[in-house]
């Protein structure tokens, strides 16, 4: 994202961030959809645990949109990236995974939503558990976690780009690889209290007019509201308010809760009501639906996981500087997209400190031209979880 302001011309200093002398205006807003794009890739479940040689199944759903008609999802090609990128490379994946095929890619399939088995060696490849060294050689450096203490299995999505060149998007599945470099007590505490990530979900999507009147968008294909040309409105999304302290029976398997607790599980609260597999979940048949936007039936693994909160979840992680287990809250980022008109901000959100506020809003100005404007809103938590919602604004006099 590029700001469009000019610095005072009395001086100019180069910094690592931005802003030297005069910064030029550059074309394009991230929030304006002018071509076929992938706006999000959802992994369901959002996080899996790799144990032994298991390869848990995960469903991947891409939010693949275009400026006009919905692009053909058959052009989407998914593959697991199995190559580790060098330390100094900022890219989300190793460069060799940004290709149609190659030795670092394990194809999953094509389509807007499909199921794949996460490679079982993910924690060795992308986590804190590197391969055992050869005799006489020192061990490999473990991968660094992200700011939430997480590790991720990257998924490459190839889609038809502009001018015949392929476009690439990278989604992830969070991997529960345990703690690296922690003491035994910390590992026990973490194992007892950590809960896998749950994808955030949009609870309400509301259009607020200039007179303050709120009109919610309906779910699914009926999500449609009229707006006058040039009218400035406010769009607001909200998500679930997640309890900081787990309460058994609230339907959320929170920190410290488990279906069953053993004698050595300190700080554990047995709460089968919240932490047992969801009702009606038929693991053999693929389980019940847990995705959004009418996603098809979730993976079998989803049935074995207790459910989290679809908002700003509390979680625990190892603070690398303090070397202590700390309680955290997820930050939520909201990305706004439309095929026309102009958003005031491309992205909004709530920080970890603002987690109790479970909503975010953005102003949008309708275009002068009448017609349908497609709007998408994507909510992401900072543990890799994704949820999205679509609506249509009918610009008419």
């Amino acid at each position: 994202m590029v700001t469009s302001r000019h610095a005072f011309t009395a001086l100019a200093l180069t910094t690592a961030l931005a802003g030297t002398g005069c910064k030029p205006e550059l074309e394009g807003r991230a929030s304006l959809v002018r071509s076929d794009r992938v706006l999000a890739v959802q992994s369901s479940p959002a996080e899996v645990t790799l144990t032994g040689a298991s390869s848990p199944a995960v469903r991947y759903t891409a939010l693949y949109v275009g400026a006009g008609a919905v692009p053909d999802p058959a052009g989407l090609s998914f593959a697991f990236c199995t190559a580790r990128k060098p330390l100094a490379v900022n890219s989300p994946v190793a460069p060799e995974c940004l290709s149609p095929s190659g030795p670092g890619l394990e194809p999953i399939g094509s389509g807007a939503s499909l199921q794949g088995a996460v490679p079982s060696d993910g924690c060795r490849m992308f986590g804190p558990s590197p391969s055992d060294p050869k005799p006489g050689e020192p061990p490999s450096r473990p991968a660094d976690p992200d700011t939430t203490g997480g590790y991720y299995q990257p998924v490459r999505v190839l889609f038809p780009g502009e001018d015949g060149e392929p476009g690439y998007a990278v989604g992830v599945t969070r991997l529960d690889c345990g703690l690296g470099g922690a003491t035994q007590e910390q590992i026990l505490d973490f194992n007892n209290r950590y809960r896998p990530n749950e994808n955030p979900a949009v609870d309400t999507f509301v259009l607020r007019r200039s007179d303050g009147h709120d009109e919610p968008f309906a779910e699914g294909a009926d999500a449609r509201l009229p707006v006058a040309p040039g009218e400035r409105v406010t769009l607001q999304v909200s998500w679930a308010k997640c309890p900081v302290v787990a309460v058994c029976g609230d339907g959320i398997c929170g920190i410290g809760e488990a279906a069953t607790c053993t004698a050595s599980s300190t700080g554990c609260t047995a709460c089968p009501a919240d932490c047992a597999p969801p009702e009606g979940c038929d693991a053999a048949a693929g389980g019940s639906s847990t995705g959004t936007m009418g996603a098809p039936a979730s993976s079998a693994a989803d049935c074995t996981l207790p459910h989290g909160c679809t908002g700003s979840e509390p979680y625990v992680s190892l603070d690398p500087a303090a070397r202590a287990i700390v309680d955290r809250r997820e930050a939520i980022r909201v990305s706004w997209f439309a095929t026309d008109g102009e958003f005031e901000h491309d992205r909004t959100g709530r920080t970890e400190e603002e987690a109790d506020d479970a909503s975010s809003e953005n102003a949008w100005t309708a275009p002068a031209a009448i017609g349908d404007v497609h709007v998408w809103v994507v909510v992401r938590d900072d543990r890799g979880g994704v949820g999205f919602r679509e609506a249509t604004i009918d610009v008419q006099p």
Binding site: G21, L39, P86, L87, D146, E352
Partner: protein, 887 residues
């Protein structure tokens, strides 16, 4: 002990030994009838001319030869025979010598008459007195009219109380000047007396040139009569490729705001630093590879953050010297160049000071003495740009442009117990703060940065000029360096905190045991202890060689580490200056033994409760260096040098998490050759070609899965080669200036490969032309033109969408295969001096950077998906008005 053959002739005894038997053997005809001859000796012969006999080479004992010498009536020796032998060799020598004698003839009865005398010739061998160590200096020179260059006759030259006058060639001489510091005065009817101070060393010959302004008309009160000194001395020249600029010239260069040390950026071999960066890149070496000294005290940087000002007040600076490579054995621990800031000697000439202010900062200095033996000087400077901008800008500029806040101070106190000896205590302090925030609607896009750096040095400097012409200097110092850099990109924070304590000692002796041999020997030791903390991504801060886009968010894969290091070196060094071929050729062999110890508190990352195990390794390197200087003619001088250099790893690279505790020192070999033509007295042109090959440089591990504690590895290679030209007109009359051009290539390899790619700060062409002219009436103008090739950058071929962070990440092409467009800029300066009395002066100046307001691209920026690119431009026209009051 040297023996010389000498003959101690005893003459007085000769007259007393002639015997009573002497008789005239030829008498003048007597007058028969009038006077009856008595035959008595009325006047003895008197030796008028003695001839010294050569001491027989074969003989080492003393001897005496008795001779009978027949002297004629005309006083000439007719015959000499041996009466008593002293040995055949002595006999022969004595006879030969006696036959050369000439006498005033003897008189018998008042008439010259022949006589025969007996003469004893003594041969005595004595030890030669050892040549005494020279106790005086030979101080001479010429006084000239600066405008015409013609010598001035009849000028009274005073050396303290002693005076002499220049001859018709304008020359003067004090053959036996006392060593030490003297006041030199020049006076004549044509100009106001002027004076300076010279320090003379026993045994040396000085040939000073004094160029005096002789006004053609009565000077107005504003005009100042000054003069220029060029002192030519047979001192041990240590540098082959150095460029030195006096403070007087450096303060007048346009675009430097009167900061003497800023002139270094305009010297050949120095890359143009990007706007807002004070990094010094010399001959393709990294900024951390060039060592900076203030006299003998090592300091970590030359400029404050942002590059606006240097860290030393210009009033304390005598000169600044840049040696881009090939420097002598007295310095080391750097693979790049050497910058030496020479402080002015403290004088006992009353109280003086200055106050200066402009839009950026304010400064003050003072110097004086308590009696003749206690002298002091001090300076302080503080920035106020943030205060100024807050009052003149219409928006909160600090939100977008980090505004540096800095201060520095220097304090010197010297005791001069006698001429040629001094003890100085001093302190050098510097501090920089810079911070900025960019708050965005998306918290993940909010950026905050802050940087706090500073250093402190306390030193003692003892110096003594010895009677034999030598100089002893001892400088112990202690120092503290602080650096804390903190960046926040959304939830991703990066912190690097480094606190260092330094203990240093430099001691050296230099002298001239013989006229043709100069020697310098000494020891250079430094112990640095660091305490470091770092959190964040491995890629923040980025390293040279990292492929990235300006403003790109760092990776959110984070870690943390705390570690301590001790890096110690104790390097004895020695260097000689052999003057051959009558002083036309100087060969300067030198060597430096560089043992170093590197100790780290952790050899592996923290893992649970496992205790920390440290790592220590020792390296010893012999660094031979040799240089040759040949004055082919009086105007042409050729030079060449070769040297080996090592540099210990940086403490921040020794982290077991982010770096490698086992890093070894880097190595460089410098080769250079050049020629200098003295076209006229102030005009010279120099051409230097160089090659620097580097090895064992620290680079990123190329492995996708690096070995534990080896995120960085050694084995990187580097090379830089090129040619630089400097056409220089020294300050003479009203004008000085220079043209410098360098064409060079600097390259690196990355870990695991042998393929070279352009160094991140490579600049193929760097051209600087600057000039300053004194218009008279106190006005002075100056201008500077700079051109440089843009820095290399890695092109972006496309982008991939990171669905986790909703951002696009660039896909890069070949490393550093494109460049930012070239830079060019014109700066101008105009100043006016107002004189109030003999020492008080007010200077008002206008220093305008980028007069033409040319928008120079400084960095490449892209839109959100990297489909469009443009450039951030640097400084627009930047006028800085300032004033300085000096008394």
């Amino acid at each position: 002990m040297n023996f010389r053959n000498r003959i101690a002739a005893v003459l007085a005894a000769a007259a007393a030994t002639w015997g009573a038997t002497s008789a005239a053997w030829a008498a003048p005809p007597a007058q028969a009838s009038e006077q009856k001859p008595t035959g008595k000796l009325t006047k003895p012969p008197r030796l008028l001319k003695f001839f010294q006999a050569p001491y027989p080479e074969s003989e080492r004992a003393k001897a005496a030869v008795a001779l009978a010498i027949s002297i004629g009536a005309d006083g000439k020796v007719v015959d000499a025979t041996v009466v008593d032998s002293g040995g055949p060799a002595f006999d022969e020598a004595a006879v030969l010598a006696a036959r050369q004698f000439e006498f005033e003839p003897a008189e018998i009865d008042g008439v010259p008459a022949p006589v025969r005398i007996q003469y004893r010739y003594d041969f005595v061998l004595t030890e030669a007195a050892p040549s005494a160590a020279p106790k005086a200096a030979d101080f001479g020179g010429v006084v000239r009219d600066r405008k015409t260059g013609k010598p001035l006759a009849g000028v009274t030259v005073g050396l303290d109380a002693e005076t002499t006058k220049t001859d018709e060639n304008g020359r003067f001489r004090f053959e036996a000047a006392e060593p030490g510091t003297h006041s030199v005065t020049l006076s004549a009817a044509e100009f106001t007396p002027v004076g300076t101070e010279e320090t003379l060393v026993a045994g040396r010959k000085y040939d000073a040139t004094y160029d005096v302004d002789v006004p053609t008309e009565q000077p107005s009160p504003e005009e100042k009569v000054d003069f220029e000194i060029i002192v030519v001395d047979t001192v041990l020249e240590k540098s082959i490729a150095s460029t030195s600029v006096s403070a007087e010239q450096g303060s007048r260069v346009a675009g430097t705001g009167g900061d003497v040390i800023k002139v270094v950026e305009n010297l050949p071999g120095v890359a143009r630093s990007s706007v807002g960066s004070g990094a010094l890149v010399v001959w393709g070496a990294g900024a951390a590879d060039t060592r900076v000294y203030v006299d003998d005290v090592h300091i970590p940087l030359l400029y404050h953050e942002g590059g606006f000002r240097s860290v030393i007040h210009s009033d304390l600076v005598q000169n600044v010297e840049l040696e881009p490579g090939g420097y002598g054995a007295a310095h080391g621990r750097g693979l790049g160049g050497l910058v030496t800031v020479g402080l002015k000697p403290l004088e006992a000439d009353g109280y003086h000071g200055s106050v200066a202010v402009d839009a950026i900062d304010g400064a003050a200095s003072v110097r004086g003495s308590i009696g003749d033996k206690i002298r002091f000087a001090g300076a302080v400077r503080r920035s106020h740009l943030d205060w100024v901008l807050a009052r003149v800008s219409s928006q909160d500029v600090g939100d977008f442009v980090p505004i540096p806040k800095y201060w520095d101070s220097q304090l010197r106190l010297a005791w001069v117990p006698r001429d040629g000896e001094s003890v100085e205590i001093g302190s050098l302090l510097s501090s920089d703060r810079i911070s900025r925030s960019l708050v965005e609607s998306d918290p993940a896009d909010t950026k905050r940065e802050s940087k706090a750096t500073g250093f402190e040095r306390i030193y003692v400097r003892y110096q003594r000029h010895l009677d034999d012409g030598g100089t002893v200097t001892v400088t112990p110092f202690v120092g503290f360096d602080q650096s804390r850099v903190s960046n926040q990109f959304g939830a991703v924070s990066a912190v690097l905190d480094d606190q260092a304590t330094l203990y240093g000692l430099r001691a050296s002796w230099s002298g001239h045991p013989t006229e043709a041999l100069g020697l310098t020997a000494g020891i250079d030791s430094e112990v640095v202890t660091n305490s470091l903390q770092r959190t964040g991504s491995v890629t923040e801060p980025p390293r040279e060689g990292d492929i990235r886009v300006f403003g790109q968010a760092p990776s959110d894969k984070v870690n943390a580490d705390q570690w301590r290091t001790v890096i110690a070196g104790l390097a004895p060094f020695a260097e000689a200056d052999l003057a051959l071929a009558g002083g036309r050729v100087h060969v300067l062999p030198g060597a430096r033994l560089e043992p170093s110890v590197v100790s780290t508190s952790r050899r592996t990352p923290t893992d649970g409760d496992q205790p920390a195990v440290g790592l220590m390794h020792e390296d010893t390197h012999l660094e031979p260096r040799v240089a040759v200087r040949w004055s082919a003619t009086d105007r042409i001088r050729l030079r060449a040098a070769v040297g080996v250099y090592h540099q210990p790893p940086l403490a921040e690279d020794l982290s077991a998490v982010f770096g490698n505790p086992g890093l070894a020192p880097g190595k460089a070999v410098h080769y250079l050759a050049g020629v200098e033509f003295q076209l006229s007295k102030p005009v010279s042109v120099g051409l230097t070609s160089f090659y620097s090959g580097q090895s064992d440089l620290v680079t990123r591990s190329p492995l996708p899965s690096p070995v534990t504690a080896q995120a960085l590895v050694g084995g990187g290679l580097g090379r830089a080669y090129g040619t630089q030209i400097l056409l220089r007109h020294d300050l003479s009359g009203r004008f000085f200036g220079w043209l410098s051009y360098s064409i060079l290539r600097s390259e690196r390899t990355d870990g695991g490969t042998k393929d070279y790619r352009p160094f991140d700060f490579d600049q193929t062409h760097v051209f600087t032309a600057l000039a300053s002219y004194d218009l008279g009436a106190g006005f002075e103008v100056g201008s500077r033109f700079r051109y440089s090739t843009g820095y290399p950058r890695t092109p972006v071929l496309g982008a991939a969408y990171d669905a986790r962070t909703d951002s696009y990440e660039p896909v890069f092409g070949a490393h550093n295969s494109s460049r930012i467009p070239a830079f060019y800029q014109i700066d101008a300066r105009v100043s006016k001096r107002f004189s109030f009395g003999q020492h008080t002066e007010l200077e008002v100046y206008l220093d305008v950077q980028n007069v033409s307001n040319h928008g120079n691209p400084e960095e490449i920026v892209y839109n959100f998906d990297y489909t469009k690119k443009s450039y951030i431009t640097g400084l627009p026209v930047l006028p800085v008005i300032g004033g300085k009051l000096t008394w």
